[in-house]
């Protein structure tokens, strides 16, 4: 078992090292080839009396230049709610989305970046989230991905790490979720599913060896639309662990977290 641990840790270290190396290579490549993005930008014309160019993409950055009505600007990039634009004579600055939304595209239509709304929350196909909470006294950190078959029914895959005082473990499960009122901002749901749980007792505790068991669960919770593509999710699940011993274990889990839908 100690030997197994050694290899795993070494593998993990090596993996982190290779990820770091790959990242460095990727960033070096990106630095070496900055020209490819510089070829073509979207151009819009100012329709308001003027738009303000700020020195940075955030609150408080001062206005250092204004672009008058009728002049056009190139959109170089977008970061959160700010656009880096280039005006005449190569002046570059950040413009807030509200002002950009009142500029005109070459075809005469208003420039607008679609902003996700509660309808997207109801109709989104995919969802990715992180939740944390309590799993029978232990801490649990979970990552999940969800795919909606229709606004009411979706299927989910979960991976969780359980960090307790006496044992650690992993859990993987698949479940089906039913939302009765998916168009509500606070949308309740019911869920059931099955999976496996791996329990590894702490090294300082003398206990039987690691074990893997099957689990089944039912649960309920709610999803709350916050803003843009984000939602808050809180849920309760009741697990049955089908152990190899005489009695099955029952475990209660409470957790909450955030998710992103797209």
């Amino acid at each position: 078992m100690a030997a197994g641990n050694t290899t795993t840790t070494h593998l993990t270290r090596r993996r982190i090292r290779s990820i770091a190396a790959a990242l460095l290579c990727a960033t070096a490549l990106q630095l070496a080839a900055p020209a490819d993005a510089a070829d073509e930008y979207r151009t819009v014309t100012v329709a308001d009396p003027y738009i303000e160019m700020h020195s940075g993409p955030g609150r408080g950055y001062p206005v250092f230049h204004v672009v008058d009505r009728g002049e056009s600007v190139e959109i170089i990039k977008q970061r959160a709610d700010w656009f880096l634009v280039r005006a005449g004579r190569g002046k570059e600055g950040w413009v807030k989305q509200e002002q950009m939304n009142r500029t005109l595209q070459p075809d005469g239509n208003t420039f607008s970046v679609p902003r996700p709304s509660i309808e997207d929350f109801t109709n989104a196909k995919w969802e990715l989230g992180v939740l944390a909470g309590d799993f029978d006294g232990a801490n649990i950190v979970s990552l999940y991905g969800s795919y909606s078959l229709n606004p009411h029914v979706s299927v989910e895959l979960w991976g969780s790490q359980i960090l307790g005082n006496f044992s650690d473990g992993w859990m993987a499960s698949a479940n089906i979720v039913h939302e009765t009122w998916p168009e509500w901002r606070v949308s309740p749901f019911f869920t059931m599913g099955a999976g496996i749980i791996r329990t590894e007792p702490k090294t300082t505790i003398i206990q039987p060896e690691d074990r893997t068991d099957e689990i089944g669960h039912v649960g309920a919770g709610f999803r709350i639309y916050i803003t843009r593509r984000f939602l808050f999710r809180a849920e309760f699940k009741s697990y049955v662990v089908f152990t190899s011993r005489d009695e099955n274990e029952e475990v209660e889990e409470w957790k909450a977290g955030f998710a992103y839908f797209f």
Partner: protein
């Protein structure tokens, strides 16, 4: 009753008779707005010969992700200070908030107990590998600009982070909470330098009784927005 129904049918029949102009205007239907038929045939209708310009809109480059690597020093409680390095991935939600995940690794040295006792070892060599991951929420609390010399200004931001994750150390995974303060210095609009100070807290019982260990870390990193 019967006669009323008959009257209704009659009215319906009259209305549906297209020839009866008087009934039509009585009930408000029909072509009252019809222009009188013009005596001369309509003139040449302008046939637009302009070709519609095909406008292909280039996509806007969205740069909300930030990826990079870092290296620094980390003090592992009871086990000395050692080099730490890792990778970072962040997503900027708004101008203020971002979410971030970091993965880092360090190697624990000997505790004073192990040094003083001579040969005794609390854990194997492989268990000294310290690996952590964290999922954090960050907030740019003090965005600003830095001036270098007369004509150069760089954007920067002081941010706070807090989050949770797990640390593998001394043979076990430990639930870890981390909080920190960082400084982001943007060399260009897409490349940033970071200086971070973070504290990783977890419960550990390797040396005697269980306690909450503080593991402060300071690192220097660089990231690219994409």
């Amino acid at each position: 009753m019967e006669s009323r129904i008959r009257i209704l049918f009659l009215i319906a029949a009259i209305v549906s008779l297209s020839g009866c102009a008087a009934t039509k205007s009585l009930f408000g239907f029909g072509g009252r707005d019809e222009p009188p038929p013009s005596a001369e045939p309509p003139g040449q209708v302008i046939d637009p010969q302009v070709e519609r310009r095909e406008i292909r809109e280039p996509r806007i480059d969205r740069e909300n992700w930030e990826i990079g690597a870092f290296g620094g020093v980390m003090s592992i409680e009871d086990f000395g200070t050692d080099a730490v390095y890792g990778v970072r991935l962040a997503y900027h939600l708004t101008e203020g908030f971002f979410v971030e995940t970091t993965v880092g690794t360090a190697r624990a040295g000997l505790s004073s107990f192990e040094v003083l006792s001579g040969g005794a070892r609390l854990m194997s060599e492989s268990e000294r590998d310290f690996i952590y991951y964290n999922l954090n929420v960050g907030y740019n609390i003090l965005p600003g600009e830095v001036f270098i010399g007369e004509g150069r200004a760089f954007n920067s931001s002081l941010y706070l982070i807090a989050g949770l994750g797990s640390t593998r150390f001394a043979g076990d995974d430990r639930f870890t909470v981390n909080v920190g303060l960082g400084y982001r210095f943007l060399i260009t609009d897409s490349i940033a330098l970071h200086v971070d100070f973070r504290d990783h807290l977890y419960d550990i019982d390797v040396i005697g009784e269980e306690k909450t260990a503080q593991n402060p870390e300071g690192h220097l990193g660089f990231t690219v927005f994409f």
